[in-house]
């Protein structure tokens, strides 16, 4: 049986719905030693900023039950070095590239997106409006994330939308009361897809030292621990907006990917579990194929949102 695994986001077609999440795959070089990365639906690169960023002071990560906290602080090479030194490798490997961008103002997002479009630096853009680790911890609650304000989400999205034609994916935070509000705003602003979820804010304390385990005090929680939250948010959002949802949050196995797809995600991303098993995305691509065969489904798109309630 011929199974169609292709899915479309905006005007691009992914060869399958399995993506790797931003910040868990570098710029593709490292894991290309493990498998042929062109087999992926798409590679999302580590957040790019206008200038290189040093990131936060260590310790930056701590393992938690069924997951981990991180406070990397968007350490990255900057758009210039990305275009010059990282992009050629991804292009040579024939990857579909989603460039994740982070700016500190609308203007910066616009500049990043325009630059990427002009120089062929991406096949789609993911706007990171939801990094939890770039504000000083003590000011965190006075300085909310863009994605926590539906109004700002629409403003940022429509601004970038007006500058570029590349498919625009808006990455939202789960640290909100109702995720459908910023999702609707992103759609209204002209986004082609919503990606959810970014990490959940969390914290861990070492009782021996009475100090937080992360130098940044708080960080973002990822891994299977957050998966049920992510599945629920995908279900919420996919029923609310008309644009596709890219689901992520603790996906390790094929069955996890299926949960997201059945709940409403058109594509899914593997994140921190890559650290444990770099081959997880390949296992999932194969697993989705096998599942479709066993269920007699000829097109993965028929599974999207097929939940029976």
């Amino acid at each position: 049986m011929d199974i169609n695994l292709q899915v479309s986001i905006g005007n691009i077609t992914l060869k399958n719905p399995v993506i790797v999440a931003s910040g868990t795959f570098g710029y593709g070089e490292e894991y290309s030693e493990y498998f042929d990365i062109s087999q992926l639906g798409a590679v999302t690169v580590k957040s790019l900023t206008l200038r290189p960023r040093l990131g936060n002071s260590p310790p930056r990560i701590v393992e938690t039950p069924a997951g981990m906290l991180n406070a990397i602080g968007l350490q990255n090479v900057g758009i210039e070095t990305y275009l010059k030194e990282k992009l050629p490798f991804l292009r040579q490997k024939n990857c579909t590239i989603i460039a994740n961008i982070y700016g500190t103002s609308i203007d910066e997002y616009e500049q990043l997106a325009e630059r990427l479009e002009k120089e062929g630096g991406a096949d789609a853009i993911e706007m990171n409006l939801s990094c939890p680790n770039v504000h000083d911890a003590l000011n965190k609650y006075k300085c909310p994330l863009i994605a926590q304000s539906p109004e700002w989400v629409e403003k940022y999205t429509s601004a970038v939308r007006s500058k570029v034609k590349l498919p625009l994916i808006v990455k939202l935070t789960p640290n909100v009361t109702d995720i459908t509000e910023p999702a609707l705003s992103a759609e209204k602003g002209g986004a082609d897809a919503i990606s959810i979820i970014n990490t959940l804010l969390g914290m861990s304390v070492n009782p021996d030292t009475c100090k937080p385990r992360l130098k940044n005090v708080v960080g973002g929680l990822s891994g299977p621990a957050i998966r049920p939250i992510a599945v629920k948010m995908v279900w919420d959002v996919s029923r609310t907006v008309k644009i596709p949802v890219v689901g992520m949050g603790g996906i390790c196995y094929t069955s996890d990917a299926l949960e997201f797809i059945i709940a409403g995600a058109k594509a899914i991303a593997v994140g921190s579990y890559l650290f444990r098993d770099p081959l997880a995305p390949m296992r999932i691509i194969q697993g989705l194929q096998d599942y479709c065969i066993s269920k007699n489904i000829d097109d993965i798109n028929k599974l999207v949102g097929s939940i029976i309630i």
Binding site: E33, Y34, S57, I61, A66, I72, Q75, P224, R276, L279
Partner: protein, 266 residues
């Protein structure tokens, strides 16, 4: 190059209270590794613990590799329950290896506690390519923590022992012993152990103009330079500070390149 290996445990011993040696067989892996590199080991199936555990390579044999580890948390506790004959999934080799310049007569190792783990392989390599047995300062809290002492003696190393409680060798710290060593000869130093010890070794080596390489340890998730979790501030890039990954740019660093004033004391 395949970096994910199914290995079979061929030996697993308690070598001192809370410290184990594990040997596992996989010829492909054994043929790839160099002294100083490390492995990421899956200590259990499933999500608990979520991440692999980074382990120094203790010794390299023709078709197997050994690690020496201390039980210090749930992950290593689970690892310690595995039996001979069981399979483990090992990722590696990862990171860089110890540079061994040939124009030295004196190779000096300073190991604190479980920090001794990467050195038996280094000693064997130095013996191999230089025909010289490194000199070793082996230090620990008490005599129980002086690991590999017998192995080093068998390899012909000159040993200086130090324990904090005086239960073996000199009573005091490794760095006190280092201070008392002859300054005359051209020496290259390799060190691994608690961070304050490494820092002090670095300071002494700087005074003496000795080249010093340290094997650093850090909380780590991916082992491949992807997650950027295990960074240390360095001046590896000329002109500005660079956060280097212990797993990728390290674990072996020229201590002159580390920005010691930016590293916390915890």
């Amino acid at each position: 190059m395949n970096k994910l290996h199914e290995c079979i445990i061929t030996l697993h011993n308690l070598v001192s209270p809370n410290h184990y040696r594990m040997v596992f067989q996989n010829k492909e892996l054994a043929n790839q590794v160099s002294p100083g590199q490390f492995l990421m080991i899956e200590v259990s199936p499933g999500y608990y613990p979520f991440l692999r555990r980074p382990m120094s390579i203790e010794r390299i044999f023709s078709d197997s590799v050994s690690i020496l580890y201390k039980v210090c948390g749930e992950g290593t506790k689970l690892l310690s329950t595995l039996s001979v004959g069981e399979k483990i999934n090992v990722q590696g080799p990862l990171g860089n290896s110890f540079p061994i310049p040939l124009d030295y007569q004196r190779y000096l190792i300073i190991a604190g506690g479980i920090g001794v783990a990467p050195f038996p392989a280094l000693v064997e390599k130095v013996l191999n390519i230089r025909g010289i047995a490194p000199e070793i300062i082996l230090a620990g809290k008490d005599f129980n923590y002086l690991l590999c002492e017998k192995d080093f003696r068998q390899m012909g190393c000159k040993l200086h022992l130090a324990t904090e409680d005086g239960s073996a060798g000199y009573k005091g710290l490794a760095t006190d012993l280092l201070q008392s060593l002859e300054e005359t000869e051209k020496t290259i130093v390799y060190t691994c152990g608690p961070l304050p010890m490494i820092k002090k070794v670095h300071e002494i080596c700087t005074q003496r103009k000795w080249l010093c390489y340290a094997s650093l340890e850090a909380e780590m998730a991916c082992g491949e330079g992807v997650c950027l979790g295990c960074v240390v501030p360095t001046k590896m890039e000329i002109g500005h500070e660079m956060m280097a990954c212990v797993c990728k740019e390290g674990p072996i660093f020229d201590t002159q390149l580390i920005l010691w004033n930016k590293i916390g004391e915890e």
